[in-house]
Amino acid sequence: MKYIDEFQDPELARRLLDEIRATVTRPWALMEVCGGQTHTIIRHGIDQLLPPEVELIHGPGCPVCVTPLEVIDKALEIASRPGVIFCSFGDMLRVPGTGRDLFQVRGQGGDVRVVYSPLDALRIAEQNPDREVVFFGIGFETTAPPNAMTVYQARKLGIRNFSLLVSHVRVPPAIEAIMNSPDCRVQGFLAAGHVCSVMGTEEYPELAERHRVPIVVTGFEPLDILEGVRRTVLQLERGEHTVENAYPRAVLPEGNPAARAMLDDVFEVTDRAWRGIGVIPDSGWRLSERYREYDAEQRFSVEGIDTREPAECRSGEVLQGLLKPHECEAFGTTCTPRSPLGATMVSSEGACAAYYLYRRLDLGTPSPKSPSVKSTALEGSSVV
């Protein structure tokens, strides 16, 4: 707790806020790239405490949110098949595909399992040689290395009944796409610290220079965010646009060479569709030729899936920072965590979920009808 407390210290936060207030002379729009940062900002009320000149725009960095609906539908299709054990991190289970989610597939008899590591999925494959085990490999540079390592291990151990449903994405092309958008208002970036802990900072100087935009590598605790904001605002006020590392306890300039080598071995860069945004060139990874046999899309025929995106969902604009969650007409009415239209409302890192969960009071969003009953007196089970 001491470790966490150090990065949530109210006194240090107050000092950073004072510095930011003293620095800022005009409005600035900063984008925090990662959904984890968005949740820290909203959960701790950081946006309420910043001076009004500093606007935080929420970026596309939620791995669950940007996974295309088509890939989720493929996951649902594969997970429904007899003989398949479908493994996933927990927060993908409630993400709606076209008409259902992985929880509902499990309720219908599918063998869907929550794992905490892709290596757990590989272990399940070893223990169930007569079943096909599929791991849902989504996420940014943060989750890609362990997934790559798992495929590497599967090949090394000769485990054939394991495959990866891949939808990995890369941050720098997304920043490029955001900056190239004619509607872009972003003037500075808080880069995602976890991504940089793997990839280092080498990918960013050229981006910062080309778009004349400061990029500050930022962590995830409240003081990390405030320090990232402070440095970005300082640069903007001075007319600078360099890459700074405000997360040195986790990020080295070269990143994690072993993880990068694993990525280079197992994956290759490819164009990738982002949910709500569209295809961004070179923004993703797929399994490289020598590991292609571990590609679940190749192993299972999942063509002809009828994917239907809800027309009223505007999560794509939210992910690009063009719309604040509560500015969407469906927010809190037809779209809630209970019945989400899009992944940004259901993901634990989604911007819409953050606004709905933590900020309803300020936004005047009506609370959903509270259950008038307490479950315990009639509850059916006590899992824990």
Binding site: H44, R94, V373, A377, E379
Partner: protein
């Protein structure tokens, strides 16, 4: 027959999913839309942990709970301890000291009799520690593959002392919210063994019977307004249930909520909020402001309330909603959990 017809179907859920057992909104909807309309009667309590029933002039607390925990044995306890303490604590939340328990075992074909013996011994020891007698029981065996070894259901009854009336409807603005100790311990202890996660420190469940602690609180004043043991859904679910049932708002100071370092760290790794993690030996109390200091002192004098802390108050603003003041000075809504918390991807 139309009178009790469910006002709305279970939304979008033609089948039961795990979240229906998670103690959050989905669980409550199951009760509200299926069970309560089917069973409804004057004695049916759906806003408290135990029902209050009158029999022969006596006021009894009556409660039942089923236990399907995996693994059967975990640091700090077992399914046997849970089966006693879960029901004993539900009764204690009505102010009653449990007197008699029933105990139904559902055993899976193939489970070792040694395991059943260990569970039964743990259950017996927990009952003696809680001062309650197992008065009746039942055993069923299901085919292999149809259970997790051992399931247990317990029901319990106990006498409610005169002058004690613990209900969320009694909560009024100004009431002080006290939690009896560190939260999130049981849930993290179970996760650490169930999922094979290691957090560097062994975390033991806080599983314990709370009847004695409640008695020491009632000895200060019978005028406690409501007690709740924040099991599944954690502190957040209990506070939301009380806010909804009482129609008051609740404000808590986030930094005042006691969270042990290993629990905080484990939750940080998994992306969980300790406020939503299950407890098995803690209670949350709403106490009239003028009694709060004395009740807090009595709690701290009891071994199971040594870590008691004031965490907030009931307020007139935002009725039915729980709001946290963050350490940095912001505010946020503390929502009812939907189902189970899900560990995040990164």
């Amino acid at each position: 027959m139309l009178a009790w017809t469910c006002p709305a179907p279970l939304r979008d859920q033609p089948r039961v999913v795990m979240g229906h057992g998670g103690g959050g909104t989905l669980s409550a909807e199951l009760v509200e839309h299926i069970f309560a309309p089917a069973f409804g009667g004057p004695a049916l309590s759906v806003t408290t942990d135990a029902a209050t029933v009158e029999l022969g002039g006596a006021r009894l607390a009556f409660s039942t709970d089923s236990f399907v925990v995996r693994p059967l044995f975990f640091p700090g306890g077992s399914i046997g301890d849970l089966a006693v303490n879960g029901t004993v604590n539900d009764l204690a939340m009505s102010g009653a000291r449990a007197a008699y328990l029933s105990c139904g075992f559902i055993l899976e074909e193939g489970v070792e009799t040694d395991v059943v013996t260990r569970v039964a011994n743990a259950l017996g020891a927990a009952a003696r520690a809680a001062g309650v007698q197992v008065a009746t029981g039942d055993t069923k065996v299901v085919e292999a593959g149809h259970g997790d070894g051992v399931y247990i259901n317990t029901s319990g009854i106990g006498l409610i002392p005169p002058g004690v009336d613990l209900r969320p409807q009694r909560v009024v603005p100004g009431d002080v919210v006290i939690v009896s100790g560190p939260v999130g311990v049981h849930g993290v202890a179970i996760m650490s063994v169930r999922e094979g996660l290691e957090f560097g420190v062994e975390i033991e469940s806080d599983c314990a019977p709370l009847g004695g602690l409640v008695e020491s609180m009632l000895a200060v004043t019978p005028d406690l307004h409501v007690l709740r043991d924040p099991t599944r859904g954690g502190l957040a679910a209990s506070l939301n249930e009380i806010a909804a049932a009482s129609g008051t708002g609740i404000v808590i100071q986030e930094r005042a909520v006691p969270v042990p370092a290993p629990v905080a760290n484990a939750c940080a790794v998994l992306g969980l909020d300790p406020m939503y993690v299950a407890n098995e030996g803690k209670l949350v109390a709403f106490v009239p402001r003028e009694q709060a200091d004395a009740v807090l002192a009595a709690m701290r004098a009891h071994p199971l309330g040594a870590g008691a802390a004031v965490i907030g108050e009931a307020v007139e603003a935002h009725p039915g909603m729980v709001v946290a003041r963050t350490g940095l000075g912001g505010t946020r809504v503390v929502d009812m959990p939907l189902g189970e918390q899900l560990p995040r991807i990164c």
